[in-house]
């Protein structure tokens, strides 16, 4: 028995070492960095300060946070509206078709998001396919500029993150006991009422995990805003990148990252509280 454990120790060692050095290490370093003073030129003075966090509260930066937040809320709301029915319909398919649908859903999801984004640029740009079609149909006279606007960014976000929502809703709708809906119907509930009182309530955990899975990345997907928004909208992600590369203020970038991480963690904890109360209790 003892020898077995010894073997397990050796197996686990690479994972422990790697994880501690390259996952925990950088994250701890980030937290330390966020409390350090930025050197005026480039680099860090290791003096404790809260200035980096205070700086986030400056109107310019606070505005960026609010704008990112607003964009994330808007995108997530639309993703819910579009993705929920998809996941729901998928769960109601016969099982053989479900698997195929899943495969087709996953395929574009593994394709580089840049490629998909680029495809949309070809379609939507001023001299693009859509304008060409609309013009030759005589629907419009001058090409419309679809790109480089707020709606374009929202569209890009929705497009990139939709599968997360669909998969979460699907997995909770699939696990659902459909006889409950039948029971509600047998007891005289209308289809709508049966849906809202039974199906929807039971799929809320899926919806919530979908919201988390889409909300968190949408705060940070700076390249979508970059490519589809044409520098019109600055998100926290773009701000962090700018501070890291051009401005060279790493402590400030670290402070913003810490705030983002804290927000993310709060959301995950809240989700666990709401959806898996029993599981958490069971573990504790």
């Amino acid at each position: 028995m003892r020898r077995r454990k010894f073997g397990a120790l050796w197996m686990i060692l690479p994972l422990y070492v790697f994880t501690l050095i390259f996952v925990a290490g950088p994250l701890i370093y980030m937290i330390a960095l966020s409390f350090a003073e930025a050197n005026e030129v480039h680099g860090v003075n290791w003096i404790f300060t809260l200035d980096n966090y205070r700086k986030i509260l400056e109107p310019v930066y606070l505005d960026t946070f609010l704008q990112s937040f607003r964009l994330a809320v808007t995108s997530t709301a639309i993703i819910c509206l579009v993705g929920y029915p998809f996941g729901y319909f998928m769960a109601r398919m016969p099982e053989s078709r479900r698997k195929k649908t899943m495969l087709f859903l996953m395929l574009p999801f593994w394709v580089n998001s840049l490629i998909r984004l680029y495809g949309w640029i070809i379609i939507l740009q001023k001299k693009g396919i859509l304008n060409h079609i609309l013009q030759s149909l005589g629907l419009i006279e001058k090409p419309i500029s679809f790109l480089y606007s707020y709606p374009a960014i929202v569209f890009g976000m929705v497009y990139a993150l939709l599968p997360f929502m669909i998969l979460s809703v699907y997995s909770s709708a699939e696990k659902m006991d459909w006889s409950l809906v039948e029971a509600a119907r047998d007891l005289g509930a209308s289809r709508t009422k049966a849906f809202w009182t039974v199906t929807f309530k039971l799929t809320v955990p899926g919806l919530l995990s979908g919201i988390i899975l889409t909300f968190i990345p949408s705060m940070g997907l700076f390249f979508i805003a970059d490519i589809l928004g044409g520098n019109k909208i600055v998100l926290v992600g773009s701000l962090i990148q700018e501070q890291m590369t051009r401005a060279g203020n790493w402590p400030f970038a670290a402070a913003m990252a810490v705030v983002m991480m804290v927000l993310t963690t709060i959301m995950i904890v809240m989700y666990r509280r709401i959806s898996h109360v029993k599981e958490v209790e069971g573990i504790g």
């Binding site: 077995r4 950088p26 998809f86 580089n112 998001s113 495809g119 289809r191 705060m219 970038a253 995950i268």
Partner: protein, 267 residues
């Protein structure tokens, strides 16, 4: 009456799913189709041509990026397969108090927004004085590849009977032998499918790579990203189509391996 209503609903559902699928695949199709277009303007398909592929293959910077991406994908997936597989097996055998925490930290890279991971790694590697380039990229990619393999293997182990390996030990096999002959073949499908997933993720990553690639080294997705920002030539279409091909091959293999794994399990 009731059945009728159900049918109507499923028609709408079918239409809805079809529409979303159409929108999902449309941009990918457009990129592929126009990579074979002769005209430079991606508006109308004029005639079939492979000139953009030829141009691409005369572009040494692009080829280097392609090479880098493939090397990175293969190496990071091999290294993380070793770390992740051993780790998952080891974790299944110990019952320390720190186990849960370690597992949480190991999959943390998947739950951290990519931009934060990228930025943190950039600062961290700078502090360690590591030269930015292939080495930092390799470490970075391995960081987010390990969790995929760890999770796949862990799930597979959960469905496995630990008595099998114990039986081998009782019959006199050394721990190494028992692992090699019993456990490893059983978890191999999970190792492979996890690795292929990791490979696809590595081939796909822009956000983390862009922070840690350094000024001289570039990967395929980074090239695409910079081109998209500066100016688009149909060469990108060809490049994207190639990337698509590589990812697709990895995916097909992934599903094949998974199918074989499932069959084995059934037997």
């Amino acid at each position: 009456m009731n059945e009728n209503r159900m049918k109507k609903n499923s028609k709408f559902a079918g239409f809805y799913l079809g529409l979303i699928f159409f929108l999902m695949y449309l941009p990918i199709g457009v990129v592929v189709v126009f990579s074979f277009n002769e005209s430079k303007l991606p508006v109308r398909f004029t005639s079939f041509s492979t000139q953009w592929y030829e141009k691409l293959f005369h572009n040494s910077a692009m080829l280097e990026a392609l090479c880098n991406s493939l090397i990175l994908g293969v190496l990071s997936c091999l290294i993380s397969a070793v770390i992740g597989t051993l780790g998952a097996v080891g974790l299944s055998r110990i019952h320390w108090k720190t186990k849960g925490v370690m597992e949480y930290i190991s999959i943390l890279p998947l739950m951290t927004p990519e931009i934060i991971l990228g930025m943190v790694l950039m600062a961290f590697f700078y502090m360690l004085n590591l030269p930015f380039g292939m080495l930092t990229l390799l470490i970075g990619h391995t960081i987010f590849c390990v969790p995929y393999i760890l999770m796949e293997v862990k799930a597979r182990l959960a469905g496995m009977d630990p008595a099998l390996e114990e039986a081998a030990r009782d019959l006199g096999a050394s721990p190494f032998r028992a692992f090699q002959d019993i456990t490893l073949p059983l978890i191999m499908p999970a190792v492979l499918s996890g690795s292929l997933l990791a490979f696809a993720m590595s081939m796909d990553d822009v956000v983390i790579s862009i922070f840690i690639n350094g000024p001289k080294v570039s990967t395929l997705p980074i090239k695409v990203y910079t081109q998209l920002k500066t100016g688009v030539t149909p060469e990108i279409n060809a490049l994207c189509t190639i990337m698509l091909g590589v990812t697709l091959i990895a995916l097909v293999l992934y599903f094949l391996v998974r199918r074989i794994g499932k069959k084995n399990r059934m037997e």
